[in-house]
Symmetry: C2
Subunit: 331 residues, 2 copies
DNA sequence: CTGAAAGCGCTTACAG
DNA sequence: CTGAAAGCGCTTACAG
């Protein structure tokens, strides 16, 4: 810019004015400056500009795995939401490692991102407190920060807005649906409720339990602690799978028993080609990109100065019949 | 940092030394500085540091769609490759819109990224020339820049290293495999070779044609211009699908004709649950993350000053039998 | 309409 | 071992 100014025979400020399209420059001077810019191949250094203005116009996305279909969709939704703001997006994966999450988040903060969307991997978010106080906005997506819920990550302090899927409602709806088809022995194949980051599992089991109770059914302990191998012999006529991975495990286990197994399967998460599966299957589907959009909009409001207490947003789910065969009724 | 210096009663430079862990500071002064840092909650502004040092330690990833399985895997591979370098990654999707690609790429250049990995959407890369001359390294992934190949994007000028899948070899191997199973009437379901960004289609058709010719078979014109609806009645006993989307279309079309259709299907790109498909299927699989790793390594070498002419790297593919049924032989 | 000075938050090169 | 000055590339306030 200095070079451009010298070449055009004007002051730095005038170049700045031309580059920024500010009013108050004669066409003649502007032309001279433009000429110098092109001759020199000048391109403004945005980083320097942002340093001076104190903003960065940058957001971060910290995923557990950016290649996971849900998280990839969240990212696309976030992109959509921030495109209008003209923000750029940093991103990275933690692979579920709290140490990597902390390193990534602090690296982003060191570059002074305006905000971050985090798919939480850590149980303890004390490391973020100072940064949040310093002004970065953090929004959590797909699950709340901390072990069991939004209010436990910091022993009561709510860290930031959180956007999740209504897993409890989805599980409840799935079991209720199965009951309405005559099923009474309904299994659950999913994560271990004692594991780290098991908010999701707890929600699913809550929904399952509620729906069973509402229907006046007592769930056998074993039904909610199934492994894929046990599924076919567990005495259940239907199964709720907690994730795409578990749905795949269930389908494989059932397929191994022979053609067209008679088991009603409901899986959390829609997937490509589900309708070609050799069994009847219903999926719990949801708008994962909507989570990213919602997170982006919440972030935008925080950046605009909104100071309301942190919100927990739950996106609705719906049951979608898929599969090539009829949904098997009770045997 | 100025505040820290004042509080600790030292000069700016001393704070800098402590923050950077440089030698030559007494334990006593270092302690005073550390204290001040903690009291003030000082966190170094990385952006300012990078401005001064002239580097940015930042790379960009420009995808057509970050949520596409292949591109998501490329991103993960890239992440792996740059993690060791301590670089941060910007990313964004173009949805195949050349204007969005240009906007994104120039925005990244304006922030002075050290390099970019681009999944090309544009046919004309003149917009990048000035940036490349100014020092950004660009590596192209999954397809070469430009309409038909690496050397046409700019009328002969090769823009940068390019990492692709060996689509031609994969198609050749697939058709050869089908021929060895006795098939002689082999179809191709894929993109239109006349469309924009059809490097991939051309490569696939080249491989197809070569293999047919090697086997002494003459391909009917219609066999390579199939639509999913025509597939079952086209008189072919086997089909090569050019992408996961085309494989899904073929499987749907065949499933609509009834159970266990007798058609050998080879699909480019592995997919989850392929082994539960109601027909015999073989996939052409490849290591998409490897493309990202290779791109990251090429980028790293360019940043390290390597000045060799741009390379075209082709990652190998392999045929993987999948599907629940036997691979159907010739009828 | 145009410009000279100061400063964003840091580091580099030098001097003491 | 420690520091005062200059500068990275830009903008913000001010003055002419």
């Amino acid at each position: 810019m200095k070079d451009v100014a010298r070449r055009a025979g004007v002051a730095l400020k005038t170049v700045s004015r031309v580059v920024n399209g500010e009013a108050g420059v004669t066409a003649a001077t502007a032309g001279r400056v433009q000429g110098a810019i092109e001759e020199l191949g000048f391109r403004r250094n945005e980083s320097a500009r942002l340093l001076r203005t104190g903003r960065t116009a940058t957001l971060g996305f910290i995923a557990e795995d950016t290649a996971d279909p849900d998280q990839a969709a969240v990212y696309r939704g976030l992109e959509e939401a921030v495109a209008e703001l003209g923000f750029l997006l940093y991103s990275g994966s933690t692979d579920g490692d709290p140490a990597r999450e902390e390193r990534l988040a602090l690296a982003l903060c060191a570059r002074r991102v305006d905000g971050m969307v985090i798919v939480p991997a850590a149980a303890d978010y004390r490391y973020l407190l100072a940064e949040i106080e310093a002004g970065v906005a953090a929004v959590f997506a797909l699950r709340p920060p901390g072990l069991t819920g939004p209010d436990t990550a910091l022993g009561g302090t709510v860290l930031g807005d959180t956007v999740v899927i209504d897993e409890r409602g989805g599980a409840n709806a799935a079991v209720t649906h199965l009951v309405s088809h005559g099923h009474r022995r309904i299994g659950y194949l999913g994560g271990d409720p004692g594991a780290l980051g098991d908010y999701r599992t707890r929600q699913l089991l809550l929904g399952y339990t509620e729906a069973m109770a509402s229907a006046g059914l007592r769930a056998d302990q074993a039904w909610t602690a199934l492994t894929p191998g046990e599924l076919a012999g567990a005495g259940v006529t239907a199964v709720l799978c907690g994730s795409r991975a578990h749905t795949a495990q269930a389908l494989h286990a059932l397929a191994a028993r022979g053609p067209a197994p008679r088991m009603a399967v409901i899986g959390f998460g829609d997937f490509e080609l589900a309708d070609l599966m050799p069994t009847g299957i219903t999926v719990i589907s949801y708008d994962a990109a909507g989570i990213g959009r919602a997170a982006g909009e919440l972030l935008a409001r925080r950046l605009a100065g909104e100071d309301a207490p942190p919100r927990l947003v739950e996106l609705p789910v719906r049951l979608t019949p898929r599969g090539s065969a009829e949904f098997p009724p009770e045997e």
